[in-house]
Amino acid sequence: MDKITEKAFIEAYDELADDIFRFCAFRIYDRERARDIMQDTFTRTWAYLQTGKEIDNLKAFLYKTARNLCVNEAVRSKSFSLDEMNEVAGYDPEDLESEVPSDHAEAAILMKHVSELDDAAKEVLTMRYMNGLAVNEIGKILGLEPNTVSVRIHRAIEELKKRMHA
């Protein structure tokens, strides 16, 4: 396997920084900490490579690292106001004026329901829909069979639907 060069690693950052940040943001619901963890994820991974070790799947490795770092973080809050959702999302108040307010309110409600799911359900939903990872990729990151991942995603969606219509 080819060694990951600095250039390749920076390219990986350009491609994956947003995804890793989003994954963290939906795990801990704290924008600033999510940014810190995203940064930490990349620097730790680079430090790991500098020790001469090899990484087969950089994307999966970054997610695993981020996941481990998020586990140590306390979830800030499980209920969200519109302001809090905007804070996590990083909306600029000026930009909001041009948006349809009802969309933001609904997004806040959806975020609230997602945050109330159990950790396993929340994790697969985030990876599948917020990060757009394939079932196989999620399986590699979590160390699960693809079928197991699919079942979890299906159950998480059903649970979320129930909550949305409750």
Partner: protein, 323 residues
Amino acid sequence: MNNNEPLESKLKRLSETVSLRASEKNVHRENLKAFMQKSRMPVRSPYMWFVGHGARTVGAFALFLIISGGGVVSAEISQPGDPLYLMKLKVTEPVRSALILDPEEKTAFTLERTDRRLKEFAAYSTTENPDAETVSLITTSLSESIDSLSEDVAEYAMEGDADLALNANSDLQSILSAHSRILNTLAQNNPETLEDITLVSRSVDTAIADTENAEDSIENALESILTSNDSDEQARETEEELIDIRSQVTQAVSTLDEMDRQAIEENLSEVQTVITEAREAHREGDLESSFLLYAEAGQQLIELETFIEADRNLGIGILDSDE
């Protein structure tokens, strides 16, 4: 959001609302590049931290020893009138005492401090123009150590350790008695410091009287503790200690002139008689008399040691005195 829109689609759209701003992403990118550049530098062993910091630490410690440690050592051997004498009395000795956890060892150190103070005072009072402040420093420290020993003796007695109480009391009495005699000789030879010497002499005599009173009360408690089965072992150990002190005194005698040597040898002979009596009393089962006789022998040996040292260091002919 459209109510007919599938939930999966809504989740995807929700995720789009959470993203890094371009400025944020650039800041983190630059941070990452800086980190990567830093890690390109020659790899430094994690142990280098110790080498660097360790070397500085060792250096600082060495400096500390030179400055503070050296100061502590200097203070420990400083004499009245030296700049570090105050540090010795107020810092090094109290700290050393505080670090001793064993009560018997602490008592032994306090006895040593008492002996030191009296020796220091004897030497200082023969110098020209002794400073009143230094004399006050010595007498205060002396009073403190004597008070501390009295407390130790009382505590031992109260806890039923009458033998420890009697030994500590006896040792204190030996030191005080020897120095009382030294102070009397000094007073005769140094009329210019008579006032200071008399002051210390009085406090020493008061302390001797206190030890005699304490001795009476402790002896009453002795009988109850001198019935243990290991009294043979205790007697043997006591004799060994006395023989050890006597050999030290015998060695010191060689530095004296003929007349002093004869005086000391006569005293040693008397001490040997007391030890023999103690041994016989023990053999006859009179443990209390045996204990007291051994204590008396020890007391006499300590006094002889103190006299020899005073004669050598102060040159006051203490061994020639009539007492």
